[in-house]
């Protein structure tokens, strides 16, 4: 995973652009059981199923595997599935095009603003979980190939820019962001 790789993910979601930073090594180590179980479930079966189905059902698979882990240990929980989803959501920024240029919003705020809807986010989330499961467990030498493989079958793309640099690269015909909405009044002289 992040594991000090200078890599982030970008994707289209609704009319917006998404930017997601992979989970940290510490988060992976705290949740390796559910992530590895999810990968095993997603990559079970023939390659056609993996390509066409797995990216779509990754969120459901994560929750399902979390439930199995919780049941196996006699706990009444989700095996940290919701915590991983919350972490991916926290690490994801949505770039929304507005009147004063591109704006950077948290996922919930972007949904609330109407720039994308909840279903579009769920589709993107599923692909991000699919990426997380396949990339996190790859050996360091194999990670670029794993990332390339996932990106080939999803709407994700890898990028080595920061969120600010990525947003700046989007600003082709809009005015740059200001510190806030501009008042109509002028400064007294």
């Amino acid at each position: 995973m992040k594991i000090d790789d200078n890599l982030s993910l970008v994707f289209d979601v609704g009319a917006c652009k998404g930017f997601s930073t992979p989970i940290s090594r510490a988060v992976f180590e705290a949740n390796f059981k559910i992530i590895s179980a999810t990968k095993a479930a997603l990559f079970y079966g023939n390659s056609s199923a993996v390509v066409n189905v797995s990216p779509v059902i990754a969120t459901l698979t994560l929750k399902d595997e979390g439930k199995k882990i919780a049941d196996a240990s006699g706990e009444d929980g989700d095996g940290s599935a919701d915590a991983i989803i919350a972490e991916i959501k926290r690490l994801t920024l949505i770039m929304v095009s507005g009147a004063s240029g591109w704006d950077m919003l948290p996922v919930d705020a972007a949904i609330q603003s109407g720039a994308m809807d909840a279903e579009e986010w769920q589709e993107a989330l599923s692909e991000l979980i699919f990426f997380t499961a396949s990339y996190a467990l790859a050996r360091k030498a194999d990670r670029p190939r794993a990332a390339k493989g996932v990106c080939a079958i999803t709407g994700l793309d890898t990028i080595s820019l920061s969120a600010e640099e990525f947003m700046a690269s989007l600003e082709t015909s809009k005015k740059p962001e200001t510190t806030g909405s501009k008042a109509g009044s002028s400064v007294p002289v």
């Binding site: 930073t21 926290r90 948290p106 947003m167 501009k182 009044s185």
Partner: protein
């Protein structure tokens, strides 16, 4: 008798408050990672000065004010250690965007930020949070630049 116009007073959503750190997304914070005090954002200085003269006042708008953002981050989650590690590595974090607890109040951007304090606080088993203080610049009176 006057009629009460019953204008809607709106609502607050305390779990909406969040902070984005675009240069370091691993520091992003939403309500699930904050203590009961959540966060606060203050402009520390006046937006301008009014200098007294013999017969009145001269207005002198300031091009910026210092901003302070205080965040109550849960020490019981990994994210507190990420903020501590960030301060240990470099306390300069660039721009932050604070999303408020109201849908009709705009997000506030603070530029050129630095983690001023990240104090672990009491460790008596009753305090789950650390207090992180971020300071930066809020640009105001932007129309000043139209007159240069």
């Amino acid at each position: 008798m006057a009629v009460n116009p019953r204008v809607s007073q709106g609502n607050l959503n305390r779990v909406r408050a969040s902070v984005i750190v675009p240069a370091f997304p691993t520091l992003n914070i939403n309500s699930s990672h904050m203590g009961k005090q959540f966060l606060s954002l203050e402009w520390e200085e006046a937006f301008g000065d009014q200098i007294e003269t013999g017969t009145g006042l001269v207005n002198s708008p300031a091009p910026y004010v210092k901003a302070t953002c205080a965040i109550n981050i849960l020490r019981s989650q990994l994210i507190a250690s990420q903020w501590q590690a960030q301060a240990d590595a470099t306390s300069i974090i660039g721009r932050i965007v604070v999303h408020p607890d109201s849908t009709v109040y705009p997000a506030q951007t603070v530029h050129n930020c630095q983690i001023l304090h990240a104090s672990p606080g009491r460790m008596d088993g009753l305090n789950p949070t650390i207090d992180v203080i971020i300071t930066g610049v809020r640009y105001v009176n932007n129309d000043l630049w139209n007159m240069v």
